[in-house]
């Protein structure tokens, strides 16, 4: 069991992470389902504790039946915990008023089957006492966002599973929630839909919203989550930021444009001096299937091929964004930058700004050498803290680049 909670707690108190408001606190939470006679039937959640800060994207991972949905339903006050303590925005989960700030996508979103998508959103908007113009405006934008505005007059009962998910997602966002809880949001969605959901989550997080997503599809959460817990059998098996959990500290990957043969040999020769041959691995990075698929579909769409299914919503609903079009543009830049940064983990090791390519390479090589020495356990902690700090520096840079309003 990898427990990195300790490491997190050891971080210096000066990091802004610790000052953020707690949106969700869960302590020693357990849920036992009982049968008709009150005998315990299934221990769905077993002594779980975690905290979620404002603005975090928090992933609940685990195989089917590991207790993710049960945890979420307890957070929403739908299930009563057998034991333990839950607080959401400083209130009990049963506090009705708090729910104005929460959006929830259930794992099975069967909505009212005789309502069309428009009426569905209107119904849920009404539960939040929204004005009718506001409801109409938001419904319009949400339908655009989830790509259902062409089938708006069809009743939800006729929708395919993926379309049901989309309308479910739209209803979860009708109140512009501060805390968005998505239970398996990508189940039943096509890859484009998955990508859109992930983009949406990123956009929400950029606006300072807190997002909880549960999934058994790891690729879903990998790109978007700040922090995850991994469940198995109702217990937390691991918890921490993805970087903490996934970084292999004993190896380093170098990504660079193809070098001429002799340059390559030089570099390798240099490395071989210190490292055994069988520990060096050279290959061409491959695209993952997702980005490949997205590329194919994008090309097809550019060739204007017809589809009778759900179209892909292009943009995040306007009211869910920070401001006008200009900001939207910024969000896109931010996404692109983030995407560019992501696949080069070495950049994260840089304490200084990544200015030029040469500098980058130098630094890479330097850290390469550094990484060779086996690290004692203690420095890892400070390393993690350093990386966090460097991340934040990068974030600051980005935000100042963009006008610093996110």
């Amino acid at each position: 069991m990898i427990d990195l909670t300790e490491n997190i707690e050891k971080q210096p108190a000066s990091t802004p992470t610790d000052n953020r408001e707690n949106v969700v606190s869960v302590r020693a939470l357990s849920k036992v389902f009982k049968d008709f006679w009150g005998r315990p039937k299934a221990k769905a959640v077993n002594d779980v504790s975690f905290e979620i800060k404002k603005g975090e994207v928090f992933g609940l991972l685990g195989p089917n039946g590991s207790g993710k949905s049960t945890t979420i339903k307890m957070l929403l006050g739908l299930l009563n915990p057998t034991k333990g303590f839950i607080e959401i925005f400083g209130h009990s989960p049963r506090h009705v008023k708090t729910k104005e700030r929460i959006g929830y996508l259930p794992e099975e979103s069967y909505l009212y089957k005789y309502l069309d998508s428009r009426e569905t959103l209107d119904f849920f908007g009404n539960l939040f006492q929204l004005h009718s113009e506001e409801r109409a405006k938001r419904a319009e934008q949400l339908l655009e966002m989830v790509g259902l505005n062409q089938v708006r007059s069809r009743t939800v009962g006729e929708f395919s599973k993926g379309m049901q998910r989309r309308i479910g997602l739209a209803q979860a966002l009708i109140n512009d929630p501060d805390l968005v809880i998505l239970d398996e949001p990508t189940a039943g969605l096509d890859p484009i839909g998955c990508r859109e959901v992930k983009d949406l989550i990123t956009a929400l997080a950029n606006r300072g919203k807190t997002v909880i997503i549960s999934s058994h599809l790891l690729s879903d959460v990998e790109d978007v989550c700040d922090r995850v817990v991994i469940y198995y059998g109702g217990k937390i098996q691991a918890m921490g930021t993805l970087k903490e959990l996934l970084t292999e500290r004993e190896t380093v990957r170098l990504t660079l444009p193809t070098l001429p043969r002799e340059k390559m040999d030089q570099v390798l020769a240099m490395i071989r001096k210190d490292v055994a041959e069988d520990r060096i691995q050279i290959d061409n990075p491959t695209q993952n299937l997702e980005s490949y698929f997205l590329g194919v579909v994008k090309r097809a769409r550019e060739n204007e091929q017809q589809t009778s299914g759900a179209t892909s919503g292009s943009t995040v609903a306007h009211y869910l964004r920070e401001g006008g079009e200009e900001k939207d543009q910024k969000a896109k830049i931010l996404d692109r930058l983030a995407a560019d940064l992501a696949p080069t983990p070495i950049a994260e090791l840089l304490e200084e700004k990544p200015a030029t390519t040469e500098q980058k390479q130098d630094a890479n090589l330097a850290s390469l050498a550094e990484a060779e020495a086996p690290k004692p356990v203690a420095p890892v902690v400070s390393k993690a803290a350093e990386r966090k700090a460097s991340d934040e520096k990068a974030d600051d840079k980005l935000s100042s680049l963009l006008g610093g309003d996110n």
Binding site: F33, S69, T70, K73, L76, L78, L79, N80, V96, K97, K99, E100, I102, Y104, P106, E107, E108, S109, Y110, L111, Y112, Y114, L115, F123, F124, N126, L127, F128, Q129, S153, R154, T155, G168, Q171, N175
Partner: protein
């Protein structure tokens, strides 16, 4: 408050859009009218036969509709998880429950209302060995039913609206129209009779009591549906209904002899006999003080509805809402 009205309206619409309501409404109103259109040779009891059976149909179909409506609007939504989406919004559980109740009652009442109109029409059409079927009335009535289907098909075809819902709601309006026209604008005389046939207005208080009974049955069905599925709900409601029918006999008499358990059961069980006064409607008798009786029954009823709703609430308030998973 907004949550309550939104849920009530949504429940009502979602229910009447289910084909079963259109089906029940069409089948039962038609059956009641056909009853009145057939000769019985009932030795002068023809009119009573039509009266009794049409009201009995109204009551039983209403009971059935209440169970179907409650289990689809409450048990069904809990099962499929729709209720989870709704109750994750700022909706107090009590508002959810009462909204559901009002929506169910509205749908059940509308169905019972058309059946009662059909019963009133039937009381006018009923004839004995010397009479004749009211062909005009029957033709106009079935014309209205057919028209309601045409209307539903029309709005479905041109506006993509829900066929069952539109057909059912237009059926209610058309049957009301037919009732008003036939009753107040068309004279019906059987050959050899000097006086025109009129609606038996004594059915009005009887019908009002049936609507009351359905109010209570809906509350009981609602309470059951917070925990049980359709079939168990139907079983429990039927048992309560049957036990309530024999309540006077099975518990009332022992209670008079001082059996405390019988007294309690007799008090708690709704006594359906109180809602069934058609037996009192005899040939030409007028019912004196009937409306005072109706008012008294209403008080008895509200106590029972209160109990049923409190039970429903206590079963629902702390219920685990897990959906199907």
């Amino acid at each position: 408050m907004r949550a309550f009205t939104t849920i009530a309206a949504n429940t009502f619409l979602e229910l009447v859009r289910q084909p079963v309501f259109l089906l029940l409404s069409t089948a039962t109103t038609s059956f009641i009218i056909i009853l009145a259109g057939m000769p019985y040779f009932g030795f002068g009891e023809d009119a009573k036969l039509v009266r009794d059976s049409s009201l009995a149909i109204t009551l039983f179909v209403g009971l059935l509709a209440a169970v179907v409506a409650a289990s689809s609007a409450v048990a069904g939504e809990l099962r499929t998880g729709t209720a989870l989406a709704v109750l994750s919004k700022p909706v107090p559980r009590v508002a959810f429950l009462l909204g559901k109740y009002c929506g169910i009652v509205a749908a059940v009442w509308l169905l019972a209302f058309t059946n009662l109109l059909a019963s009133l029409l039937a009381s006018r059409m009923a004839y004995d060995a010397y009479g004749d079927a009211d062909t005009l009335g029957i033709a106009v009535f079935f014309g209205a039913i057919a028209l309601s289907f045409l209307f539903g098909a029309f709005t479905n075809y041109f506006h993509r609206r829900n066929l069952s819902g539109d057909a059912f709601l237009s059926q209610v309006i058309l049957v009301t129209g037919v009732f008003l026209i036939l009753t107040f604008a068309v004279e019906l005389k059987h050959p050899g009779q000097s006086a025109a046939q009129t609606v038996d207005w004594r059915l009005l208080p009887a019908g009002a009591l049936i609507l009351f009974a359905l109010l209570l049955l809906s509350a009981i069905a609602l309470a059951c549906s917070t925990r049980l599925d359709t079939v168990p709900t139907l079983i429990v409601c039927t048992i309560i209904f049957l036990a309530g029918l024999v309540s006077d006999y099975a518990f009332g008499r022992p209670a008079e002899q001082g059996a405390w358990w019988a007294a309690i059961t007799h008090a708690i069980l709704p006594n359906w006999q109180l809602f069934w006064i058609t037996d009192a409607i005899q040939s030409d008798r007028t019912l004196d003080g009937i409306w005072r009786y109706v008012a008294k029954t209403a008080i008895y009823l509200s106590a029972h509805i209160g109990i049923a709703l409190v039970v429903a609430y206590s079963l629902f308030e702390n219920r685990d809402l897990a959906g199907d998973a």
